[in-house]
Symmetry: C2
Subunit: 175 residues, 2 copies
């Protein structure tokens, strides 16, 4: 139940509304665990019913702000400590890769070049976030951790960009 724990983890940092959570799952967490508001709002209701979070405030337009309860904080930590990570990863781009031999060589090559370009653009996007002067990545434990997680994104994308280029070169002299 990763969505559940993702929400708990975000609320353990600071109180947020469903809308705030939706934006977090759509920006910083989008590359590891995307989630939409239609999933988040019902889960907030369940987490409240289970006593792991509670509403701690309200705002304009019916905004409801939630925070973790002590039980909720304990549950995230328990999850991190005791639940073994589910290492199943689903990546449609790479699945397609397995079947590229079904296309004419030049089309396959062109698709891999598109992949390389996409990953390079992602690296640039991450690097721009890191270089953003308005963020102090040493300010809090959460910020330091976030800096580390951005680094994982940079390195994975860079590896995939270089891999895609390597594949194109390899196909060049071995069609």
């Amino acid at each position: 139940m990763s969505l559940r724990h993702g929400i708990l983890g975000l609320l353990a940092e600071r109180p947020r509304s469903g809308y705030d959570l939706t934006r977090a799952f759509d920006s910083s967490l989008a590359d590891v665990w995307p989630a939409s508001h239609s999933q988040i709002y019902p889960e907030l209701a369940r987490l409240t019913a289970d006593g792991l979070i509670e509403q701690v405030g309200e705002g304009p337009r019916g905004r409801k702000v939630f925070a973790t309860t002590d039980a909720g904080d304990a549950e995230v930590v328990r999850w991190l400590r005791d639940d073994p990570p589910n290492r199943a990863v689903r990546d449609e781009s790479l699945l397609r890769g397995f079947f590229l031999w079904l296309l004419p060589t030049d089309e396959a090559r062109s698709q891999l070049e598109t992949e390389a370009a996409w990953h390079r653009a992602e690296v640039a996007r991450y690097e721009a976030v890191v270089a953003d002067g308005s963020i102090d990545w040493t300010a809090t434990p959460a910020a330091r951790t976030q800096r580390i997680m951005i680094e994982s994104g940079i390195r994975v994308r860079r590896a995939l960009a270089e891999w895609a280029k390597w594949s194109v070169d390899r196909m060049e002299h071995d069609p």
Copy 2:
């Protein structure tokens, strides 16, 4: 509909049974698109009903061998050409990373060391497959493509192993 196209792609290479497909989704494709037999058998029925595959043989223990039809072959190619890849990736290990600041530093460090070790072991596993003398990676277009896809696994895992080590070092002098 990635499962559907994954099955079509595998059957485009050569005829297989549901059991064969299950093993493929559990070995070579496991790292990009895991799928279990309980998903595969109903999908084979749907693909048959849609005229994209057909049963071309049978074997002991009720084994049914399927192959793509011309329409099926055309559909995989159409998918590769026209459907933009869904780039949403879900990785629970990395999601957990975002919340490691909730653990005492030494526990967080130890978790990252476990990650590094796991990724290094995966790299070794892939490298053993590549080094397996009984496989000729230049024999067919499909084999050449598979070699390229294994390389993506090696490079991504290596990047993550090195990232995890980098994170531990970073936490060392900046707790």
